[in-house]
Every structure is written in structure tokens, then in C-alpha cells.
């Protein structure tokens, strides 16, 4: 399917390299560009949080609790008089860490298993398939909640618990892709030349499926961001005093009806982040120019 499509598009993209063409398709979507710009900004904010945040994130000041936005505290203060802007900046860190690392850990486990299962087939494939079935039938939200609870809440345990379910998606995606890549002529030719399997997988199969892997990775981010916000909101994600947007919402619980700012800003951060990452994933899908049904 991929090849038929690129052939049909050939006249239009004849003089452009693959990367340029992909970038051109990516740029067409406004939401995707928004996602990319947002990602760069939020990455900068997260990395530079200790430098650019106006106050220490845990500086309590009982004299100025629940202040509405002022020039000293641009987004106001929370119930302990801590600066909201500072805490929101620091909150970008767990969001990005969980969002990106969960997908990454899932890939580290899922990609090798999926590529081997799809290429080798047979008993190994059968075994992996059953494992995937087993894990996808688990009520994963419960399991994550449970794992974080017993392992004691922290960023790393959150990532660990979310990875328990995140590898399944990438494994299934990679297996399906490898399964079809195995039939390509050049892969068969490599096999006929007697090139070792390890080399075929690394040099011929993996580059074929790499763009789709990137897309699969991007689509996993919004879910992890959601999960981090939700669990921190329930008080079992990121542990205070380290701020997280979900946790700030949970702490806003009793005050937000009278002080809108403690609720509005963290909510906006979560919603905009999820939206941006979704746009980014969508743009990547268009850039790769493949209809994926998985």
C-alpha cells in the first residue's frame, strides 16, 4: 500500500527528498504546527524551570495565600502562598517525563519482541501473541493505580506502572508492520544472499518501519499525560512538594469555587498539552502519508 501510494505521488514529489516532502505534508496541518511549537516551548520551560521560574517552587508564604494574579505573582498564589507560575513551570517536568519515558520504555520492550515475533513467526510469534492478548485484557487503569499504590507514588514508579501496559501497543504495531515488511522483495533478496537475520532486521526491516514507530510513539504521549494528571489529581501520582498539574488541581479541591485561578491555570496546561501532542501525532501521520489501521 505504501509503495502504490508513493508511486502515485511521484510526479509531485520528484525533486523533493523524502524528508522535505514529509515536512511539507506536516506543515499543512495547523494543529500539527501548533503541537510542534508548543513542544519546543514546553521542553525549554521544563529544562530551564530552575532558571526562569521567578520563585522557588516550595517557598511557602502564609501572608499571601490564595492571591489572585498580581504583578509580583503573575498567575496568583496557591493555598500555601506558593507562586502558581513557578509551580506550573516545574509541573511541565513530570508531564514531559511521564509522557515521553512511558512511550520510550514501552518501545524498548515492545519493539524487539514485536519485530522478532513478526519476522520469525512460528512458536515464538504464538507465545508473544498470547502474551499481548493477556496484557490487553487486563484492566490496565486498575493495575496502574494498584502498582503505583503498592510501589509508593513517585515519577519513576508511575512510569514503570504505565509501561506495564504501554509496551503492548508498540509490540502489536511492530509485529504487524514487520509481518508485511518480511514479504518485500529486497528483504527476500537479503535472505537469499544469506545475510544473518540480525543484520536483516537491523538494516532492512527496521528502517522500513521506523517512521511508523515514530508516529506510534507520538500517539502514546497524550494518554500518558492524561494518566499522570489523573493519578496526581487523586493524590497517588507525583508526590508533594514536587509540583504537578494534576496534583495542583487536586489541591485546589476546596478553594476553586472562590478562587478561580487555582483551578483554571493547571486545567488549561493539561488540556493544551494533550491537544498539542495529539496535533503533533496527527501531523506525523500525515507526514508519513500512510493510512494506518491498528
Amino acid at each position: 500500500m505504501t509503495r502504490a501510494k508513493s508511486q502515485r505521488n511521484a510526479p509531485e514529489t520528484r525533486y523533493a527528498s523524502n524528508w522535505v516532502a514529509a515536512w511539507r505534508r506536516f506543515r499543512r496541518s495547523g494543529l500539527a504546527m501548533f503541537g510542534l511549537v508548543y513542544f519546543i516551548i514546553i521542553l525549554f520551560v521544563a529544562v530551564m524551570a530552575p532558571v526562569i521560574s521567578p520563585y522557588p517552587y516550595d517557598r511557602v508564604d502564609y501572608g499571601i495565600t490564595l492571591q489572585l494574579p498580581t504583578w509580583q505573582h503573575l498567575l496568583g498564589t496557591d493555598y500555601l502562598g506558593r507562586d502558581m507560575l513557578t509551580r506550573l513551570m516545574w509541573g511541565a517536568r513530570p508531564m514531559l517525563l511521564v509522557g515521553i519515558l512511558t512511550g520510550a520504555v514501552g518501545m524498548v520492550i515492545g519493539v524487539p519482541l514485536g519485530i522478532l515475533a513478526g519476522y520469525l513467526g512460528g512458536a515464538f510469534d504464538w507465545f508473544i501473541q498470547r502474551l499481548v492478548d493477556l496484557f490487553s485484557a487486563l484492566p490496565w487503569y486498575l493495575l496502574v493505580l494498584y502498582l503505583v499504590m503498592v510501589l509508593s507514588p513517585s515519577v519513576w514508579n508511575l512510569i514503570l506502572a504505565l509501561s506495564v501496559s504501554s509496551w503492548v501497543g508498540s509490540c502489536r504495531l511492530v509485529r504487524g508492520l514487520t509481518f508485511s515488511a518480511r514479504e518485500y522483495d529486497f528483504v527476500e533478496a537479503a535472505r537469499a544472499l544469506g545475510i544473518p537475520t540480525r543484520q536483516i532486521l537491523a538494516r532492512h526491516v527496521l528502517p522500513q518501519i521506523a517512521p511508523l514507530l515514530l508516529w506510534g510513539f507520538a500517539t502514546s504521549i497524550p494518554g500518558s499525560v492524561f494518566a499522570e494528571a489523573g493519578l496526581s489529581f487523586l493524590g497517588i501520582g507525583i508526590r508533594p512538594p514536587i509540583p504537578s498539574w494534576g496534583q495542583m488541581l487536586g489541591q485546589a479541591g476546596q478553594y476553586w469555587m472562590y478562587y478561580w485561578h487555582v483551578f483554571l491555570f493547571p486545567s488549561l496546561c493539561i488540556v493544551i498539552s494533550v491537544l498539542a501532542f495529539q496535533g503533533l501525532a496527527d501531523g506525523l501521520r500525515q507526514a508519513i502519508d500512510v493510512n494506518v489501521n491498528v
Binding site: 493477556l134 499504590m149 489523573g230 489529581f233
Partner: protein, 310 residues
């Protein structure tokens, strides 16, 4: 077909065994038991008595086998935090709230989502289609608990026409159902659109037009009926999914459902309760997936054939 059913059934059993084993062992081996942090410190002797009472002094494997023997008879023991009840009793007491909330939210999001998706697909690539797709992406980015706060603020605090939380009749369900169902509309609309668009571009639809059928006929007889297959299989598991995933909404609105109980039980390390809810929910989910797969074969004969051969 029978072979397939039996194999799937066996798969569910293995999954439940594994899940219960993992959760059981984790709950017993991780430091900080239910007697770890109590207000009144207990003596060593007293602690041992308590442990003996709940069988916590025996080897883990033996504890698990005992638990399993009772669990197959739906006896999950007694919650640590509510000794006057049984786990099964408490689950069935709280289940109706979560089930009702999940069911209504599902019906709400499916109704609105499917209609939107169908409108978008029928006017593919028009401004209306673009608007609906953009709308569904934006809607899907709002966490249910955030929306919960917003609707409480508007309808309960400012307008004061609906209760902010708690339980006491249909009026108390309006806001939670809306907050829970609304974000789900996005996914439903996008999937419906995708299914319809895929069907519209298929050969038999072109043939139908070539035969001279009018648009309304093709839409209802060829497109809708075929697009329904992938829709049913992905929308049916939404029901148990939303019934079991309502913990955030239940926390925001203070609804006395299973989700809230699960969070509270986990915080209190109430092992029997947590184990009971986990296994119960896993059972509910896997049975629905099972029914969906069977139903898939009933609606689509092609699937039946591949199931037989595999």
C-alpha cells in the same frame, strides 16, 4: 466455532488467575501492610494475633491457594476497613452507582458522537467535516475531572440549578454523566467518521451508485450496514470500560460508587477489597470482550471463517 469459544474461555481463566496471583503476591510482599501505620501502636504479640486472625502469617503461596479456593465461590473475604460487611456484598452494593453512571455516560457520548461522525462522513472534506473533526480533537483533550469542575462551577455554584455532588436522585446524575460522557464524544465521532469514510470509498459502494441507486439508499443499505461492524466491536467494550473507569468522576462529585471505593481502599491498603474489585472488574471486562468477539462473528460471516481456520 465451539473450539474458538472454548479457547477464548480458557484464555480468560488464565488471565484472571495470573492477574489475581500478581496482585495478591504484590499486596503481601510490598512493605507497609494494613497494620503498618495505625494510630495506636500495637505490641508484637498483638500484631501476631492479628496476623494469625487474617492468615497473614502463613507462606504466601498457601495464602493465595486459600484465597483462590474462596474466590471461586465468590467469597472474597471481609474488608479490613468495614469488618461488618463482606467484599462481595460491598461490591454489589456500590456497583449500581458506577454501572448507572457509566452506562448513561456511554449512551450520551455514543448518541452524540455517532450522529456527529455520520454527519462528518456524509459531507466529507467540507467545512462541516473539518469543524466536526477539529471539535472532536479538542473535546477529546479535556480530562473528565477538569470538565467536572467546570460544570459544577457553572451549574451548581453560579446558576444553582443542579446539585454539586452527592447522591439523591436523577437530578444528581445530570452533571456527572455530562462531565464523564462529553470528552468521550470526540473519540466516538472520529471512529464513526473513519468507519463510514472507509466504507464509502469501497468498491461495492461505487457499484451501487453505478447501478443507479440514489444516495439515501446507498447510505442506508450499503454504507451504514457495513460501517456498523467495526463500530459495534469498538463501541461495545466502551460500556464496561466506562463503568470501571469512573473513579475520577466519582471522586469529583462524591458519588458512592466502586471507583471511589477502590481509591479509598487502595489508600488504606485494604487488601481483600482491592483484590476483590480488581478481579471483579477484570472479569467484567473480559466477558464483554468475549461477547464482542462472538458477536463480531455473528454480524460478519467473513470473521467466522478466519476464526475457524486459525
Amino acid at each position: 466455532m465451539l473450539n474458538y469459544v472454548l479457547r477464548r474461555f480458557l484464555g480468560i481463566l488464565i488471565m484472571l488467575l495470573l492477574l489475581s496471583f500478581v496482585t495478591f503476591v504484590l499486596s503481601r510482599t510490598v512493605p507497609g501492610g494494613p497494620f503498618g501505620k495505625v494510630e495506636v501502636p500495637m505490641g508484637k504479640k498483638q500484631l501476631e494475633l492479628f496476623k494469625a486472625k487474617y492468615g497473614l502469617d502463613k507462606p504466601i503461596l498457601e495464602q493465595y491457594v486459600t484465597w483462590l479456593g474462596q474466590a471461586v465461590r465468590l467469597d472474597f473475604g471481609v474488608p479490613f476497613t468495614a469488618p461488618e460487611m463482606t467484599v462481595t456484598g460491598l461490591i454489589f452494593k456500590l456497583l449500581p452507582y458506577s454501572a448507572l453512571l457509566g452506562f448513561l455516560a456511554c449512551v450520551f457520548s455514543l448518541t452524540v458522537g455517532i450522529i456527529l461522525g455520520m454527519i462528518a462522513a456524509a459531507h466529507q472534506n467540507s467545512w462541516l467535516d473539518n469543524a466536526i473533526v477539529t471539535y472532536s480533537i479538542v473535546v477529546g483533550s479535556i480530562p473528565a475531572f477538569v470538565l467536572g469542575f467546570v460544570v459544577v462551577y457553572v451549574f451548581a455554584a453560579k446558576l444553582a440549578i443542579l446539585p454539586a455532588g452527592g447522591w439523591g436522585g436523577p437530578k444528581y446524575l445530570v452533571l456527572p454523566v455530562f462531565a464523564y460522557g462529553f470528552p468521550a464524544i470526540g473519540g466516538v465521532a472520529r471512529w464513526t467518521r473513519q468507519c463510514m469514510v472507509d466504507t464509502i470509498s469501497s468498491d461495492y459502494v461505487r457499484t451501487a451508485y453505478a447501478k443507479g441507486l440514489v444516495r439515501s439508499q446507498v447510505m442506508s443499505k450499503h454504507v451504514l450496514r457495513n460501517a456498523l461492524i467495526p463500530m459495534v466491536t469498538s463501541f461495545l467494550p466502551m460500556f464496561p470500560g466506562m463503568m470501571t473507569g469512573s473513579m475520577f468522576i466519582e471522586m469529583v462529585f462524591g458519588l458512592p460508587g466502586l471507583g471511589k471505593q477502590f481509591v479509598l481502599s487502595s489508600t488504606n491498603r485494604d487488601y481483600p477489597m482491592v483484590l476483590g474489585i480488581t478481579v471483579f472488574w477484570a472479569l467484567l471486562l473480559s466477558v464483554t470482550y468475549f461477547i464482542t468477539d462472538i458477536l463480531y462473528g455473528v454480524i460478519d460471516p467473513r470473521v467466522r471463517i478466519t476464526q475457524k481456520s486459525s
